[in-house]
Symmetry: C2
Subunit: 287 residues, 2 copies
């Protein structure tokens, strides 16, 4: 394993992911000074008070100066804007990575926004879900979690090695794939379920809000991720909308078939589809 | 609290609910002999071996004879057929109840099928979810769970009191409501989420089955109930199809709006809808 250490780290977005990243780095002795950037000064000062970051700034044009490693951990919709702001501050040889749930075109856009003296490698740690914010920060968040790294034909091999070693040092299992492939996969297994969880809650509210008093464990499980940050998921869904619309259309076809079976009281077809899903879901294990 | 004891109990369907009911009754000293009925003799013998039931039968025309309490805990689609079969076996004053997730017309149908000498009161313990079968049986399953009891204008007051006392003695919190109201509520908060969980799993399988390897905690939570018994949920969905189709239509409207916002890159509307759902879901607490 490549031994890594970053004298100075800048983290943009000190929420669940950003704060957990800092705690994970510090607890493993992988960094010196950590600078925290965000819009909310109160949140930043709370992070500093708790020793999660060592200095703070709300100025996107000043963040990242002299840093060896910069992590984008704000909602993905702000990545391009922020990269434009801090690009010129980046020092020679700085490595930029991110924790965004969308890759695809965004990776190529960030590559272009970063000056040649710095290097960007996209990453997506598969961690967190319905919890958000500083208070949920956890130094072990990335331990045993998967981290998808999305190099392109433009990626600097040394920077790729550094970013791979970094996430591995935080305990993550690394999977490398093309940015476009990442977005097709996560549209299906993550972005669709989030969108649907939000839609189910609103459906009950539209039907009769008092019905929510009768929800059981099934409803709670199915809609748990509807408690996820609406800003984060707004950005993810908008940015991956082409893949998401494709998978929504496949979902609609499945739901339309179910509706047709219900209207026709076609027990056999309904049972066949339920059984197919059950077998696949059981294959994923109980958790 | 009314003190209750049933000399002889018959349980139709010795799966998660039926077996847990028997264990709960026995462990609280609420019954003498328990007869188990099912289609699968092997399952029944295993239940007898483990002391969950004391005698077994696979004959629907013979079950319930001389029993003071009869519980229907098979998939709801079989209730009417079974009631027709055992109706004439019921003894004077026998109380029939059930654990079905569908009430509505079924309650009135069962009232008609039972001879005047016996009394039927519908019940729906809100327990279990993705687990099923004898092996998951638990004497504490109904403890602190809600149990909806659905009396009608035809219900015998003594039988209603007995059934209420019974579920209360098993530790459940009793809610009484009209059978039709029950079905409208549970179409929203239970039957829709189950149908959708099955549809999400099949959607990923239709898109690319290998994507399932990338599912995280959010997908696992959202689809946990897709591991539920396909036979049970086939029956529930078919029997409550009118209410379920109504709520699917409301869900479709929500999903269509989301799709429209995605196509238009309308972040504000998407965020507003996500925020509404998030606030409601957070109101239900973390579990």
């Amino acid at each position: 394993m490549t031994k890594i250490f970053f004298e100075r780290v800048s983290i943009l977005g000190v929420g669940l992911i950003g704060a957990s990243f800092s705690l994970a780095m510090k607890s493993r002795g992988l960094c010196g000074h950590v600078e925290g950037f965000g819009r909310n000064r109160e949140n930043l000062l709370r992070a500093k008070e708790r020793g999660i970051v060592d200095s703070v700034t709300t100025d996107p044009g000043a963040v990242g100066k002299n840093s060896d490693l910069v992590l984008l951990a704000t909602p993905v919709g702000s990545f391009s804007y922020l990269a434009r702001e801090f690009a010129s501050s980046l020092k020679e040889g700085a490595v930029l990575t991110d924790a965004g749930s969308v890759k695809g075109d965004l990776v190529y856009e960030l590559e272009k926004l970063i000056p040649p003296k710095a290097r960007y490698i996209g990453a997506h740690p598969i961690a967190g879900s319905d919890r958000s914010g500083l208070d949920a920060a956890d130094a072990g968040l990335f331990q045993n979690a998967r981290c998808v790294i999305t190099p392109t034909e433009n990626s600097d091999p040394d920077a790729l090695e550094t970013v791979t070693a970094l996430w591995r040092a935080l305990g993550s299992e690394i999977v490398k794939m093309d940015p476009g492939h990442h977005d097709r996969i996560y549209a299906s297994v993550s972005h669709l379920p989030h969108l649907i969880a939000y839609a189910i809650v609103n459906t009950v509210a539209d039907t009769d809000i008092s019905y929510l008093d009768f929800c059981g464990q099934g409803f709670r499980d199915t809609t748990r991720i509807a408690a996820s940050s609406h800003e984060l998921w707004r950005d993810i869904c908008i940015m991956n909308r082409h893949n998401l619309l494709d998978v929504i259309s496949t979902f609609q076809k499945n739901l339309d078939s179910f509706s047709q079976y219900l209207r026709a009281s076609d027990s056999d077809s309904l049972e066949r589809e339920f059984k197919k899903a059950r077998t696949l879901r059981e294959g994923l294990g109980q958790n």
